[in-house]
């Protein structure tokens, strides 16, 4: 098991290093002399642009810049934002918890709802199955931002149950924190559930047709025990793999959701930094996102191994 983890972590580090290097050169080689102008806007004169280039070190050779960034990154220093001078690590860490809260909340809801709906659709069949399938397709087809708008209009603006925008830290007010994340989490979850529920339904249906299920039933086990104790455990593998992909997708979905709800998470800052040409911040976000993806995949592999020991052997 430890060798398995070490191997996965090792390949993850190589992946992150390769991705960071590639991203650095793509961003910096394309940057040229336009970054300082973009950062300063249309009011700046040429002298201001040149002074900014010097301040940012853009007048140094690209290999020098890469060496400077890479040596800092290895020691945990991701530089400072070109736009507002904030330490990149601080900027990302202060927002990481917000995005992670959204993603974890949405993932947990997705797991519970997709499992319940998927099992019910597979075991009940008939109109229940058709309704679940229809809702699954609908939820997948409607874009995130439209779902968000609908939720805000109904629950925040009309009913005043939740906050329409913004984020309150749990430490400041648990009640307002819950009020601020409920709608964003729901918006993310609707898309997530739509995908996973189909996977759970399909896997459960496959398992229900297997010989061991017939054997369990012939021995007189209650149907609920057959489904929830045996079928679900075996059906979890494919659904879990899909869920892993979904979690990474949720990080992407958070970009839109955080914009609509004005939530200070990684997605919001990613859009801002990209638009402003704030390359150190973009680099930091790429590295952190890659780390998150590697960790999620590792976690999925570990859970798969726990559910099915044959995976560990592979």
């Amino acid at each position: 098991m430890y060798r398995f983890i070490a191997r996965r972590l090792g390949s993850g580090v190589v992946l992150i290093a390769a991705l960071a290097t590639l991203t650095f050169f793509l961003l910096y080689l394309g940057a040229g002399d336009r970054i300082a102008r973009q950062l300063l806007g249309e009011d700046a004169d040429d002298a201001a642009v040149r002074a900014k280039e010097h301040e940012l070190g853009l007048d140094r050779p690209i290999w020098t810049q890469f060496g400077h960034w890479a040596s800092g990154a290895v020691h945990g220093d991701l530089g400072t934002s070109w736009f507002n001078g904030q330490d990149v690590r601080t900027a990302i860490l202060s927002r990481l918890s917000v995005t992670v809260t959204l993603v974890i909340g949405s993932t947990l809801l997705t797991v519970v709802l997709a499992t319940v709906l998927g099992v019910v659709a597979a075991t009940r069949g008939g109109w229940v199955d058709r309704v679940v399938q229809f809702l699954g397709v609908l939820g997948h087809a409607v874009p995130n931002f439209l779902i968000s708008l609908g939720l805000v209009t109904l629950f925040a603006i009309s009913l005043h149950w939740f906050r329409p925008t913004g984020y309150v830290r749990f430490a400041d007010s648990p009640q307002l924190w819950l009020s601020s994340i409920t709608l964003p989490v729901l918006a993310l979850t609707i898309n997530g559930v739509s995908g996973v529920v189909q996977q759970v339904r399909g896997s459960v249906l496959d398992e229900l047709g297997r010989d061991y299920v017939r054997t369990l039933r012939s021995r007189g086990l209650p149907e609920s025990r057959v489904v929830y104790r045996h079928v679900l455990r075996n059906a979890a593998g494919p659904a879990l793999s899909f869920l892993g992909v979904q979690v990474v997708g949720l990080l992407g979905g958070a970009v839109i959701i955080e914009q609509v709800f004005a939530i200070p998470g990684l997605g919001q800052v990613a859009v801002t930094a990209t638009g402003q040409g704030d390359i150190p911040l973009v680099m930091g976000l790429v590295v952190v996102s890659a780390v998150l993806v590697v960790l999620v995949n590792l976690l999925v592999d570990l859970v798969q191994g726990w559910l099915n020991p044959k995976v560990r052997l592979g």
Partner: protein, 519 residues
């Protein structure tokens, strides 16, 4: 007992939802009291911004929509009232020498920064030189300042290499911000501003780039300008988020530059005040014909002006919220603006064709214009259609959003469409930013003796001579068709029923002390 558990669980869910009911709005939002200022000020002013502010350091400060972020913490040497009259700030008196190359300012005494450091002339001089030599986008405002020195503890003297008619207004904005010397060179100066201003940044509650929280400075020298106990400035990066915040009662005041958002915000009961601070149009930069030879002929540039149907553009692109114009000077600049020039080039395709024929381009010519992803497709289509109708073939090239400003400033394009430029507050600003050979928005460095002579009068002439030169310069630029402006879009600032805001004539965002509780 399963049903008992189900009922209990269901009750908990309903209870939780009901518990959340009523916490959708902002419990912390308070209207404040019109008559209570300083230590008696109450409530939180919640403002929305459409931009993420750049550095919070005074030496790197930007202005316009960044202004409230700085005005909360810093004072400026001078101030401007909403009608642009210069007023005392940290400087109480000011005077020029005879040839306007030495400005002497008498500074307020007994003022301290929020970190306890005394404010004096030495600190003020340092702030001036740091801004001049810093990396603010507006550092050119102080390019004529040769030296800044403390004559004594309360007297600051600025010696200029040449007169700058706009210097006093610059010292009432970004160039006049005064930061504590303890922040000079500090590693966190960009995110931890320290000034003498009415509020202090609450770093623990602030999320840089998203939400900025300020609390009242208990030692502020002018408590009458503290109308609230605290201020929260939140960045709303999408029109949807802005509208949701307004409709959800989460803001007292918010900038609404987008025309469709203005309508939605007004429908939600907000009072929207608009001002015309930019102009939109075709920027005919290649007046020497280096890339597009046809543009060297003034008749061709005039033909382009006649080919544009401005009312249609206002309706289609600006959703009806804009004033058609053919001049780039600011409507509030009484000395240079000429209302008659707004209609100098009525829509007249026949006249445009005739001018092109007279200039030797009866068969038309082609021009390449950059097209950016965020640009309005309606705008690009209309430009192509209207210029095409008089024989000018428009070819669009895709331009990355991040590259546009740099490429335009380098003179890569002879004509640019749909890039809004600021209508500068005075003719001197216009000359320095758009007309003289060194101006950023004269990327082909077009040199014109008439422009140079009129700019000289603006700089060194008497008040009467400068006023006449401003009007003459405006008329000359319109006649020479250096630009083909379409309209001045109306930018908006909206306030709720509990708040009033007096628009600042030269700024997109009202000045902070002019946003007050409604009585």
């Amino acid at each position: 007992m399963l049903w008992v558990r189900r009922i209990t669980a269901g009750g908990l869910v309903v209870g939780a939802v009901l518990g959340l009911a009523g916490c959708g709005g902002d419990a912390g939002t308070a209207a404040g009291d019109k008559n209570a200022t300083g230590a008696r000020a109450t409530g939180t002013l919640r403002l929305g911004s459409v931009v993420v502010p750049a550095s919070l350091a005074a030496s790197k400060a930007a202005w316009a929509n960044d202004a409230p972020f700085h005005q909360a913490v810093y004072d400026t040497l001078l101030r401007q009232d909403p009608d642009l009259k210069i007023e005392p700030g940290l400087a109480t008196e000011w005077s020029y020498n005879a040839d306007k190359t030495v400005l002497t300012l008498k500074l307020r005494t007994g003022v301290k920064f929020s970190d306890g450091t005394p404010f004096d002339a030495k600190v003020a001089a340092e702030n001036i030189t740091r801004f001049r030599d810093g990396t603010s986008n507006l550092r050119s405002y102080l390019q004529e300042v040769r030296t800044a020195e403390a004559v004594d503890a309360s007297t600051l003297r600025l010696t200029l290499s040449a007169p700058n008619p706009a210097l006093l207004s610059y010292l009432a904005g970004a160039a006049g911000l005064q930061a504590s010397p303890k922040t000079f060179g500090a590693a966190n100066a960009d995110t931890r501003p320290v000034g003498t201003g009415p509020y202090v940044l609450d770093a623990a509650k602030t999320v840089i780039g998203s939400t900025y929280v300020y609390k009242r400075n208990p030692n502020y020298w002018k408590p009458a300008d503290q109308h609230y106990a605290s201020i929260v400035l939140t960045v709303y990066q999408t029109p949807t988020a802005t509208v949701n915040a307004v409709r959800g009662g989460q803001v007292n005041g918010v900038a609404v530059p987008d025309a469709s958002v203005q309508q939605q915000v007004a429908a939600a009961g907000f009072d929207v005040k608009t001002s015309e601070l930019n102009f939109l149009g075709l920027l005919l930069f290649d007046r020497d014909g280096k890339i597009t030879p046809a543009l060297k002929d003034v008749r061709v540039r005039q033909a382009i002006n006649y080919a544009v149907d401005r009312p249609t553009l206002v309706k289609a692109v600006g959703k009806g919220l804009g004033t058609p114009t053919t001049q780039i000077f600011k409507a509030t600049d009484k000395e240079s603006f000429d209302p008659a020039l707004d209609g100098r080039y009525p829509y007249d395709p026949a006249k445009a064709k005739q001018l092109l024929k007279d200039a030797g381009y009866a068969g038309g010519f082609a021009v390449t214009i950059p097209q950016v992803p965020s640009g309005s497709t309606v705008l690009y289509d209309l430009v192509k259609q209207e210029l095409g109708a008089v024989g000018i073939t428009v070819k669009y090239v895709n331009e990355p959003q991040n590259s546009l400003l740099a490429d335009v400033a380098k003179g890569k394009f002879s004509v640019v469409a749909g890039l809004p430029l600021q209508t500068d507050p005075t003719a001197w600003h216009v000359a320095n930013f758009k007309l003289l050979p060194h101006a950023t928005w004269n990327p082909f460095h077009t040199a014109d003796p008439t422009v140079a002579a009129l700019a000289g009068k603006l700089q060194t002439g008497s008040a009467a001579e400068a006023a006449k030169a401003g009007k003459d310069l405006n008329r000359y630029i319109v006649e020479q068709a250096w630009f083909a402006p379409w309209y001045r879009p109306r930018l908006g600032f909206a306030v709720d029923r509990n708040t009033t805001a007096v628009p600042q004539q030269n700024n997109a965002y009202p000045y902070l002390w002019n946003i007050t509780p409604r009585g």
